[in-house]
Symmetry: C2
Subunit: 341 residues, 2 copies
DNA sequence: CGAACACTGGAAAGCGCTCTCCAAGCGTCC
DNA sequence: GGACGCTTGGAGAGCGCTTTCCAGTGTTCG
């Protein structure tokens, strides 16, 4: 019983006996329209089942009511297993959840864009064309040219995680150094003497900062040197790193994320070490894994949802006023003390 | 050094010295255009840095190159903690990853739409208006009217998870009953005598099927009655359910998802029960949690990424041919045997 | 050698909407 | 009573693109 053609403004106007312009004004709630006409138009809208065509509207207003979540992965091939890992990790979902908590009430849609270097030009073009009003960027590769391109094209954008090189784009980030220091303090305070670290990839800013922060704090406590192994944020890499660290006879270890810490816990257990009595472990992220681990993980809380929500707010502000100053928000981490340290 | 206005088809045409129509034809690769002109036009495109305006294109073609991922949550208020739980769960990310693996190579975008019952009308209208070419629907509420509305409006759609009531819409699903039967078989085969189950919410089809399948299989094995507790798929609810099941002196339990199984493991451990010696545990999903658990979880594998990818393929096929027959794909689960059973 | 025919490229009509004019109507003030 | 300002609604020009229709050109065949 549906007609094949959707009712347009024109149809509503005809039913209401007014002009297209008037219907448009009523629907968008602008200008003073005679209350009677107002009423009349709304009932015509109701009667025809009219729904504004966003596409047509976007074409003229150059506003799409959409924000892009750009996942920038520089070099990945299509079915790189890395991608599936990325999506399966709660990281992605938490970001989406945080963004939606702000975007949804604002009536703004989220469009997911995955793009590698070859797609940069196209992406920037599409965004300038009004495909989306702005972008939240999740930069995976260490030094990503995308933020710079976005800034140059004057596209409202906010990064999640600071860029490797300074770029005139707002971002939200965690005070990773401070978080790592929290872990160091905890380990030292417990009385650990031989403390090591398992880090993430060295070229990721967040990872670098955790290393720097940890080393600096340890130095402050008189530990000039810290045994370090590099992982890649997977549980597996955490296991490997811990195994290679076993010879160091550590009694404390800071692991740069919870997933790797899970692996560490397993290796320690297999090696017959009690946690925290023999070896204390501090993780990072306060993910659900931390709570599920046995012993429950003492970890540095990373308020990712809040950060993503803030990113959405910053972006909205920037869309509303493109000349607003670039501003960034750094979140302070806190230590969540559980059993492992 | 960027001009404020983006180059349009008109500009390219002027530079190339041809008409708009010709440029359009070249860019879209239709009709036989003189190879020389073809060349000429492309170099003009290059020179001007032209990027087609998708919005304008959509307006006339009524194709958007976008697919909506609709998360239908019927009754939720904006900052319901349920939503944040939903996004943090790997379920969401795995679906997105699976969809993207098909959509990205096809050059199609994914737009995230969260919508409750009040938004249904608007959503259907927007989709009919060509906002997106089709929808993948993730129905959270038990009996969701949305799939029916979509079918009625003849909007290409594919559901992930079977609808509670039959609806002429394609879907992909897991043979949940068969999966539950796999778990029952395993538990019985191990020699367990007193076997219980912890299920998900009773009004979710997937959850119902697991209960039915488990009961049926157990009956086949001569167990007429199965102690059952209901959880809500969270680790916490799993713990509670298990605690209340402790009095039953079970030696085997089937838990309807891995997250709850994690909770079960903890409770069992605290109660001094060894797994699997005293109590065998089988989970469901084969999530990363299953692997991380100690003992590692024996669980029913749920190939969610593959299912989501298939959903994307079905949707694309339906978009290409709206009159194609409604067809659904049911995936067969397999048992992943680890330590817990 | 002229007519029929493919083929190519241009002109122009929209897609559905917004928004800037502009005209009409009305009240107000000198 | 006339001029002015204010409110209100309509006409119409696009936004950038696709696509139909048609004219022009070169080709082939009777």
């Amino acid at each position: 019983m549906q007609s094949h053609r959707l009712p347009t403004l024109e149809d509503v106007a005809r039913v209401a006996g007014v002009s297209r312009a008037t219907v448009s004004r009523v629907v968008n709630g602008v200008r003073n329209v005679d209350p009677q006409l107002h009423e009349l138009v709304w009932s015509a809208v109701e009667q025809t089942g009219y729904v504004p065509n966003q596409v047509a509207r976007s074409l003229v207003t150059r506003r799409s009511g959409t924000v892009a979540l750009v996942v920038s992965d520089s070099e990945t091939h299509d079915d790189d297993p890395f991608m599936s890992r990325f999506f399966a990790d709660p990281y992605f979902g938490r970001v989406v959840g945080g963004l939606m908590s702000v975007l949804r009430p604002a009536g703004i849609q989220l469009a997911l864009q995955m793009v590698g270097a070859p797609g940069h030009k196209r992406l920037v073009g599409d965004l300038r064309n009004g495909q989306a009003d702005g972008a939240v960027v999740l930069s995976l590769p260490a030094r990503d040219p995308l933020p710079g391109l976005l800034a140059e094209a004057r596209i409202p954008a906010v990064l999640i995680g600071r860029p490797a090189e300074p770029v005139p784009v707002s971002y939200v980030d965690l005070a990773n150094e401070a978080g790592a220091a929290l872990a160091a303090d905890r380990l030292v305070e417990r009385g650990c003497q031989r403390i090591g670290m398992i880090s993430g990839p060295a070229d990721v800013p967040a990872s670098q900062d955790r290393i720097t922060g940890f080393r600096r704090a340890m130095a402050r406590h008189g530990h000039a040197w810290v045994p370090l192994r590099q992982g890649n944020f997977t549980q597996d890499s955490g296991e490997q790193a811990m195994r290679s660290l076993l010879g160091e006879r550590l009694d404390g270890v800071f692991v740069a994320n919870d997933l790797m810490a899970l692996g560490v816990l397993l290796v320690l257990r297999d090696a017959g070490k009690r946690v925290p009595e023999d070896v204390a472990v501090v993780g990072f992220d306060d993910s659900s894994a931390a709570l599920a681990a046995r012993p429950a993980l003492t970890t540095v809380r990373h308020p990712l949802e809040d950060m993503a929500a803030e990113a959405a707010k910053l972006l909205l502000a920037r869309i509303a006023d493109p000349d607003a100053r670039v501003s960034s928000v750094i979140y302070e981490p806190t230590l969540v003390t559980r059993q492992s340290a």
